[in-house]
């Protein structure tokens, strides 16, 4: 029996690691390419490891173009992603509570509206939204990419709704009998139990905002406001793409997001569900 368990454990780990390596092979390829010469990235049947290690790709890429380096770009990305994530968590928690737990008039209608907003491709909304922000003189500021997150992001609203729906109504009822208002039900019961959902929101929304380049492209259009995603996109052009530095900066761009994930993953594992649901 014991031997069987050990074999199963070993097999399990082997399988997970092997499959995992396959999963991250493209990323490893990118990291290796960040050290290669261009001809080694584009050629026929290129070897996995670089034959000559071009470490200069990193400082070259970091310099960016002109006055502002990737230091500025990283700072901007942190501002946009950090504040955006904060906004997402706050607004999603609030709105999802209303839509999932408070039987108010028009609830179904607003829910349908919310789903509808997700069905229209962003490409056609870009120009009218740009006009709105432009009329208020807010283009070239951080407000257009950040403020909308404080006003609700349907994906996360819906996600939290599903989590809330999974919480038993008896808890609410018990609290109401105790004299709690709907407000304190939110703060004392629902919010704490939303722990894993909130953490999931933080992780996912952060890197979605971090990777987004359409928003920054339109509104953070001064070089001192560029984010990392824009900086990276600027490496590619018809007249020649600077692959090495581009992959180098992409590799660096991966690090903050990955660290954030590692940090929060711990909490997810240890279950920051303050008091479990049953028993």
């Amino acid at each position: 029996m014991r031997r069987r368990r050990i074999t199963m454990t070993v097999l399990y780990h082997l399988f997970v690691v092997a499959f995992g390596l396959l999963m991250i092979y493209p990323v490893l390829w990118m990291i290796m390419s960040s050290f290669k010469m261009k001809s080694e990235i584009l050629g026929n049947n290129v070897p996995f490891f670089p034959t000559t290690w071009v470490f200069e790709n990193y400082p070259n890429g970091w310099k960016g173009a002109g006055v502002y380096t990737f230091a500025t770009y990283f700072k901007n990305s942190f501002i946009v992603a950090g504040l955006g994530t904060l906004g997402t968590v706050i607004s999603s928690a609030m709105v999802s509570y209303a839509l999932a737990r408070v039987p108010f008039r028009g609830r179904k209608f607003w829910f349908t509206c919310m789903i509808m907003t997700m069905l229209l491709p962003g490409q056609v909304l870009m120009i009218p939204q740009y006009i709105i922000w432009n009329r208020m003189g807010l283009v070239s500021t951080f407000i257009p990419p950040i403020l909308p997150k404080f006003l609700g992001w349907p994906f996360f609203i819906y996600m939290m709704m599903q989590f809330i729906r999974g919480l038993p109504k008896e808890l609410d009822e018990a609290a109401m009998i105790d004299g709690c208002s709907k407000y304190s039900i939110f703060s004392r019961i629902v919010l704490p139990l939303l722990g894993p959902s909130i953490i999931t929101t933080i992780v996912i929304s952060f890197y979605w905002i971090w990777d987004d380049y359409m928003g920054p492209l339109l509104y953070l259009n001064k070089p001192e406001l560029y984010t990392v995603s824009l900086g990276i996109k600027n490496f590619a052009d018809v007249q020649g793409t600077n692959f090495g530095p581009m992959f180098a900066m992409s590799t660096l761009s991966l690090i903050p997001v990955f660290l954030l994930f590692l940090f929060f993953n711990r909490y997810l594992m240890e279950g920051v569900t303050a008091g479990s649901v049953k028993g």
Binding site: G20, M23, M30, R107, M114, L120, Y207, N265, L268, T273
Partner: protein, 302 residues
């Protein structure tokens, strides 16, 4: 509680009334919707009935854009390939996500590390750099095609082949299952252990436990992931633009890419808006059907 006469609602009662609470909490969304969304949506609807070239003012042409749409072969093909992409890609992604989420619930000290590894693809998946990497990897002189050629299929080429060009794109999308996996993992965590313990005592095997406990408890999450991945699948744009540019022969000309090209490259903004609204109607129909049928298979813990 019986009241002798109708008293006006007290401030307290008003604040605690369901409607007030509801609207107060939903306020962020309402503001955003009415200010930033409904105007652009309305405007795009208006443009869809116009001949709008951005450089000039829109002029009303009624249903002409929509009539042209019905006869537009390129648009029809675009819809078809998008549906093909979504029909294959979304289930693949969800199955991957669930399997890996379950695989990684086994309590080991390396669990966090493993999760991180499987999550990495999603962290950078949407970026331009990865799209370029994907292009190199699946290119005719990249490692994967070399492998396939080594197995005997000489002359095989993903991006030159209308039939197979979609596969690298589907794989790229499915590869980024991280967020779905994370959401499944959170959902799995919420399933009370007692359920499993009880059924083990009853003598149920692993497979039975999966189908009678895990799946039903996860059903709200499955519903969510299904809808979200469907929607994001229909909106696929960056990868198609960078990796295949919609080719070969429009085999990967997904609808979001088609709309972008019509609107920004050909300056047919009105026509692009018309296409968007048709797409919205189709997706609304599909989403609606899924929602309607969901009540029969979704189980809420109530």
């Amino acid at each position: 509680m019986q009241k002798a006469a109708r008293k006006p609602m007290t401030l307290r009662a008003f604040i605690n009334h369901d409607n007030t609470v509801g609207y107060l909490f939903a306020l962020p969304f309402l503001i955003g919707f009415l200010w930033l969304t409904i105007y652009p949506m309305g405007l795009s609807l208006y443009y869809s009935f116009c001949n709008y070239k951005i450089a000039s003012t829109p002029e009303w042409i009624g249903l002409n854009n929509y009539i042209t749409l019905f006869q537009d072969e390129k648009f029809g093909r675009s819809l078809l390939v998008t549906i093909q992409y979504v029909a294959i890609g979304v289930p693949l992604k969800l199955i991957f996500a669930l399997l890996v989420a379950m695989l990684l619930t086994r309590p080991t000290r390396l669990q966090g590390f493993y999760r991180a590894i499987y999550y990495i693809p999603s962290l950078i998946g949407g970026s331009v750099a990865v799209a370029l990497v994907w292009k190199q990897l699946f290119g005719s002189r990249g490692p994967i095609v070399t492998l396939i050629k080594g197995m005997g299929a000489t002359g095989f080429n993903f991006f030159g082949n209308s039939t197979w060009a979609f596969l690298p794109l589907v794989l790229c999308n499915a590869w980024q299952f991280g967020s779905s996996m994370l959401i499944f993992a959170s959902g799995l965590k919420q399933i009370p252990k007692d359920y499993y313990e009880a059924s083990e005592i009853d003598g149920a095997g692993a497979v039975k436990r999966f189908f009678s406990i895990t799946l039903p408890c996860l059903s709200p999450i499955i519903l969510f992931n299904l809808i979200m991945q469907l929607i994001s699948g229909f909106m696929t744009f960056t990868q198609a633009q960078i990796i295949t540019q919609g080719g070969p022969n429009y085999a990967t000309n997904y609808i979001a890419l088609n709309i972008f090209t019509e609107g920004f490259a050909y300056s047919h903004m009105g026509y692009a808006c018309a296409q968007s609204w048709v797409m919205l109607l189709i997706m609304a129909a599909i989403t609606g059907i899924i929602f309607k049928t969901s009540s029969s298979w979704t189980f809420y813990e109530n």
